[in-house]
């Protein structure tokens, strides 16, 4: 009888403990940490001057990156399995798609030019209006946008689970398997690997005086003197400020259709305010501006000089600047494609 008594007391205690444990677990914030991930590390170098070189990629988790690459190229992320991230962000072609605006599922047309994915990790915000703080947030945009991929994560996860390769790959990196957090983490890790260090301008700034040609040097001086560098500065030669299009003088009408950040902040001061884009790899990312309405770089430069700085560029100015822009092109580290 005593054993039975002790047993029931024990059982009572254990069930109370279990209840309390359940209560505790229910109160826990629902952070599903996706575990075992070596963070992406860059080797930053800081130099004097307005433009900073792109850092070297010190370490990145290869498993996550490879998975991210697979997801980036997978059309399963769109609802009708036709559109992948890579459809609008072609990594081998400068990281964008060469169209003024991109096309999503069912041939729907977007309103904004797709920014380059290259070096996007160094932008302080993502999207033209900076509505996403980082790459992880940015992923949600195209996936849910009905005119881009028009999908949702539960649908994607279901589709991914059908593929044994994806299941296997996910299980390798995350005990929880295929989850929204894992998908995002994979894509972000891949995007973080898409950097173009050792552009001629970087090498020049790091001390290699022969990295730039004479004309490029002139172009650089003009870039600084004219004041382009006041907005297109930093590591990404841009991408760290908001600025109004047509600061000092006017810009073509076609560029004033989109009110930019005003759509989000509703602040009248934010009309025509966009994120300053990066000028790296700029000759590969035509057409230009938020709606891709400017086809050539020379036109873009002219508009910018006039509208932001009040400067009328001469033909030689343009040529010098264009030469400089060539120096802004970098290459993906080996084995990235």
């Amino acid at each position: 009888m005593t054993y039975r008594y002790l047993l029931s007391v024990m059982v009572g205690l254990i069930s109370v403990a279990g209840l309390l444990l359940g209560y505790y677990l229910s109160m826990l914030p629902g952070t599903s940490q996706v575990m075992v991930r070596t963070p992406t590390e860059y080797e930053y170098v800081s130099i004097a001057g307005p433009i900073q070189p792109i850092p070297k990629l010190k370490s990145i988790d290869p498993l996550w990156r490879n998975l991210g690459r697979a997801l980036f190229n997978s059309p399963l992320l769109s609802t009708d399995n036709t559109v992948a991230c890579a459809s609008c962000h072609v990594v081998s072609q400068g990281g964008d798609d060469g169209f003024p605006v991109s096309a999503g599922i069912n041939g729907s047309i977007g309103s904004r030019n797709s920014p380059t994915v290259l070096n996007s990790a160094f932008n302080f915000r993502q999207f033209w209006d900076g509505r996403s703080a980082d790459l992880a947030e940015q992923v949600l945009g195209p996936i849910h946008n009905p005119i881009e991929m028009g999908s949702n994560f539960s649908q994607i996860i279901l589709k991914l689970k059908q593929s044994p390769e994806f299941v296997q790959a996910f299980r390798q990196v995350s005990p929880a398997g295929i989850t929204q957090a894992a998908i995002i983490k994979a894509l972000v890790t891949f995007e973080e690997s898409l950097i173009t260090p050792n552009a001629p301008i970087d090498r020049f700034l790091m001390g290699d005086k022969f990295a730039l040609s004479a004309q490029q040097k002139i172009g650089y001086r003009k870039f600084v003197d004219f004041g382009c560098v006041s907005c297109h500065q930093g590591r990404n030669i841009g991408g760290n400020l908001y600025q109004r299009l047509g600061r000092i003088a006017g810009v073509p009408e076609k560029l004033l259709k989109d009110k930019g950040r005003f759509k989000i902040t509703k602040n009248p001061n934010d009309q025509y305010v966009f994120k300053v884009p990066s000028l790296r790899n700029i000759n590969r990312t035509a057409p230009y501006f938020h709606n891709g309405s400017v086809a050539t770089l020379s036109e873009a430069v002219t508009i910018m000089a006039k509208g932001q700085l009040g400067i009328d560029l001469t033909k030689s100015d343009i040529e010098d600047l264009l030469a400089l822009f060539e120096a802004f092109n970098g290459h993906l580290p080996k084995g990235q494609l």
């Binding site: 003197d225 006041s230 932001q308 009040g310």
Partner: protein, 779 residues
């Protein structure tokens, strides 16, 4: 039973309540824990926000600084700020405090707005200043104008007063920067104008954005929040700890209750066990009496029957009946004793007693059976022993009896030697060993192991061959251990066994002076064929001062007698060459050669019928008996009286005039008692209750009352007390009739006025002894 169930259900309620309390306390603890955690993380976030705000402000405020070339750091800080701001808004949403998020939102707006201005204005200011070094302007007037504008712009930049700013604006406007011809040709000039215009238009706007950034209340608000949070965190922590403690207390309380309950249960089962033991002892006590009474009835009646005229076959049957009853009694006694010892109900007495009296008892009980089997029974008592010891003679006697009767039982030929000797002496205590050695069948080692365990006999066939319950040795072991000693056994199969009981005996008793009777070198011829008996007897004789000459057969004895003169001849009745009357006649021929003759024999049927005129000592020899016989022999040189040792013979004394009141409720016991009494021609009256006894005692005169103790209506003790009120112990002796008396009980009887006690059933000799002692008229 129902009441018990109810209480158990209710008492489990306590546990249930405690469990629920644990649950509640635990959940409170968890609540407070999460509160604590949340507050802590809010604290951390706000703390980071505080720092980030400061850092962001620094970046923003230094944006216009000429040595700041790029805004990566600003961008990073702004990002951090926004992240923290998002976390705060999530927390604020749950806490319903919107004030801070509003301030943060405003701050952010100002910052981003200012940065837009700042970057452009910086460029514009730089550009305007650089016009001072422009080589394109040819006209000195233009140059002056430009310089004026530049200095005015500089003044404008460094001025904060609104009135002055407006003044400057006016002045610049007055300077009318439109020059014909210059505009269209000099794009730089256009730029100059544009930038000046931009500066004038936007600089003050920028400044106005800067002020709220500089003066932002955020830091102060956050600091305040942090203070509050800190307090809350401390409180939360205390509560958390408190609830943890309470939970822990409840849990330990639960264990405590469980322990208490266990204790209670144990107590209850203990009580139950005690009660069970109690009732068992009660049962035993009752049974003891209940069993013995009819047993004694059987004995008594068989005895009566044997005294009547029976033919040979009938007599034989009755003997067998008696024998069975006897065996049964032994077994019952064993069982009852054993149970008593086991339930710790047996008390060991501590009274003074004499060793030789103990041995005498053993001799009486087993002497005859030894003799019948043709075995020599020998006692060897250590000279160094005191006369008196303090202990329990009944129990020691029981052990010795058991061991001796076992020895006799399992020995076919040879002897049984009972030795008592001293091993060591300590203060107030002699360590004695009683050993019984036989030349019997012995015990194998395997049998030895089982010897003292209960219910086992050395051989299962032993029961069939030798009888008994097998409890005897176990009881001996328990008794010896109860008395503070132990029992050992040595044996060789086929050769014999030796059982020794080691007992510490207290010498703390009034020592009667040792019998130091000594003889003065008188010569004694000791004729004995058994070597051991010879040795021991010789030793005893020497110890009391005799000079001993030992011979082992009749012819040697005669030869000795021929040669010399002896004061005393001690003659064994059975010698290998001569025995019995023939032997005595042969010795008598040498009458002149000795002064006294004492015959030495075991219980011998032959002898009983002859009636020899020499004193006889029965074997086994006890020193005191020997001394007594020799002394009386020597004292009454010519008066050779036969020395009887408790032989039942015709009593010359008549008890016909005695009047005895027999008080006994049991019919059979009465019958048996009456048989003895009427045989003695005593006049008996009977009473069956104490009440009757009292009335009869009042009415008539009696010489003796035999009072049974356990009777209905009024027991013997009550009756005695009442009788003693009008007749004292001398006037009317009362004898208690009871089996198994303890020293304490005897004391009690004496206290209430009884004179003596007799066991049931009593035999004639015992009654005679009592009468002799108590009734003066009897002599």
């Amino acid at each position: 039973m129902k009441g018990l169930k109810l209480t158990t259900k209710l008492s489990y309620l306590i546990e249930a309540i405690i469990l629920v309390s644990v649950l509640l306390a635990g959940s409170q603890f968890i609540n407070h824990y999460f509160n604590y955690q949340n507050n802590k993380s809010e604290f951390d976030v706000k703390s980071d926000l505080h720092d980030t705000t400061v850092e962001l402000s620094i970046e923003v405020l230094s944006a216009m600084n000429a040595s700041i070339y790029h805004y990566d750091k600003y961008a990073a800080k702004q990002l951090e700020f926004e992240r923290l701001y998002q976390e705060i808004t999530l927390m604020e949403a749950s806490n319903n405090r919107k004030k801070l998020s509003q301030s943060l939102n405003d701050f952010l707006g100002h910052v981003t707005g200012y940065m837009q201005y700042a970057t452009m204005l910086k460029t514009s200011f730089r550009f305007v200043s650089s016009m001072a070094f422009n080589k394109d302007v040819l006209n000195i007037n233009h140059k002056n104008k430009i310089m004026n504008v530049i200095s005015l712009v500089a003044a404008f930049r460094n001025n904060s007063d609104l009135a002055v700013s407006n003044d400057i604006k006016e002045n610049i406007k007055k300077l009318n920067l439109t020059f014909n011809g210059i505009e269209t040709q000099n794009s730089r000039w256009n730029m100059f104008r544009l930038h000046v215009k931009f500066i004038l238009a936007e600089h003050l706007n920028a400044i106005s954005l800067l002020q709220p950034i500089q003066n932002t209340d955020i830091s102060r608000e956050i600091s305040q929040d942090l203070l509050n949070l800190n307090e809350r965190i401390e409180v939360d922590f205390i509560y958390m700890a408190l609830w943890a403690l309470i939970t822990f207390l409840f849990v330990s309380f639960l264990f405590f209750i469980a322990l208490v309950r266990q204790g209670r249960n144990l107590q209850i089962s203990n009580n139950n066990a005690k009660m069970a033991a109690e009732s068992k002892s009660q049962f035993l006590a009752n049974m003891s009496h209940e069993i013995r009474t009819p047993m004694n009835g059987i004995f008594g009646i068989s005895d009566i029957l044997l005294k009547t005229s029976l033919d040979f076959q009938q007599r034989s049957y009755v003997e067998k009946l008696k024998f069975s009853a006897k065996s049964l009694t032994i077994i019952i006694n064993d069982i009852l004793d054993f149970s008593k010892i086991e339930s710790k109900k047996l008390h060991v007495e501590s009274i003074p007693f004499e060793i030789h009296k103990l041995l005498d008892n053993v001799k009486t009980m087993v002497g005859r059976s030894a003799n019948e089997k043709g075995l020599e029974l020998i006692f060897d008592v250590d000279d160094r022993l005191s006369n008196h010891y303090q202990g329990d003679p009944v129990r020691i006697g029981q052990i010795l009896l058991n061991l001796s009767s076992n020895a006799i039982k399992f020995t076919e030929q040879g002897h049984v030697l009972l030795k008592v000797f001293l091993t060591r002496q300590t203060q107030g205590c002699d360590h004695l060993v009683f050993s019984v050695r036989d030349t019997g069948i012995g015990i194998t080692p395997e049998q030895r192991q089982k010897l003292f365990t209960r219910f086992s006999q050395a051989e299962s066939s032993t029961t069939r061959k030798y009888g008994g319950t097998g409890l005897g040795l176990t009881i001996c072991k328990m008794l010896s251990e109860l008395m503070g000693g132990h029992i050992e056994v040595e044996s060789e199969s086929g050769k014999g066994s030796c059982f020794s009981v080691h007992l510490p005996m207290s010498t703390d008793v009034e020592q009667i002076a040792k019998d130091n009777t000594r003889f003065f070198g008188q010569r004694v011829l000791l004729v004995e064929d058994n070597p051991i008996t010879l040795e021991i007897t010789s030793k005893v004789l020497s110890s009391i001062g005799f000079k001993v000459v030992e011979v082992a057969n009749g012819s040697s004895a005669l030869r000795e007698l021929t040669d010399r003169h002896f004061d005393l001849v001690l003659l064994d009745w059975k010698l290998p060459d001569l025995f019995g009357l023939e032997l005595v006649e042969a010795i008598e021929k040498f009458k002149e050669h000795f002064d006294h003759l004492i015959v030495f024999t075991g219980y011998d049927a032959d002898y009983i019928s002859t009636g020899l005129s020499y004193p006889v000592i029965n074997k086994p020899l006890i020193k005191q008996d020997l001394i007594l016989t020799i002394t009386s022999c020597l004292n009454e040189k010519d008066n050779i009286k036969p020395y009887q040792h408790e032989e039942p013979i015709e009593e010359l004394i008549s008890y016909a005039h005695l009047r005895v009141l027999l008080v006994e409720d049991n019919e059979i016991n009465t019958m048996v008692a009456l048989d003895v009494l009427t045989e003695m021609n005593i006049q008996v009256e009977c009473a069956i209750t104490g009440l009757q006894a009292v009335e009869k005692a009042k009415l008539s005169e009696f010489d003796l009352i035999l009072m049974d103790i356990q009777m209905p209506e009024m027991d013997g003790m009550e009756a005695t007390k009442i009788i003693r009120q009008f007749k004292d112990a001398k006037q009317l002796p009362i004898v208690a009739l009871t089996a198994n008396v303890l020293h304490d009980e005897v004391q009690l009887y004496m206290e209430i006025g009884m004179n003596h006690h007799l066991g049931k059933p009593f035999e004639r000799q015992e009654l005679e002894k009592v009468i002799k002692k108590l009734v003066p008229r009897a002599h």
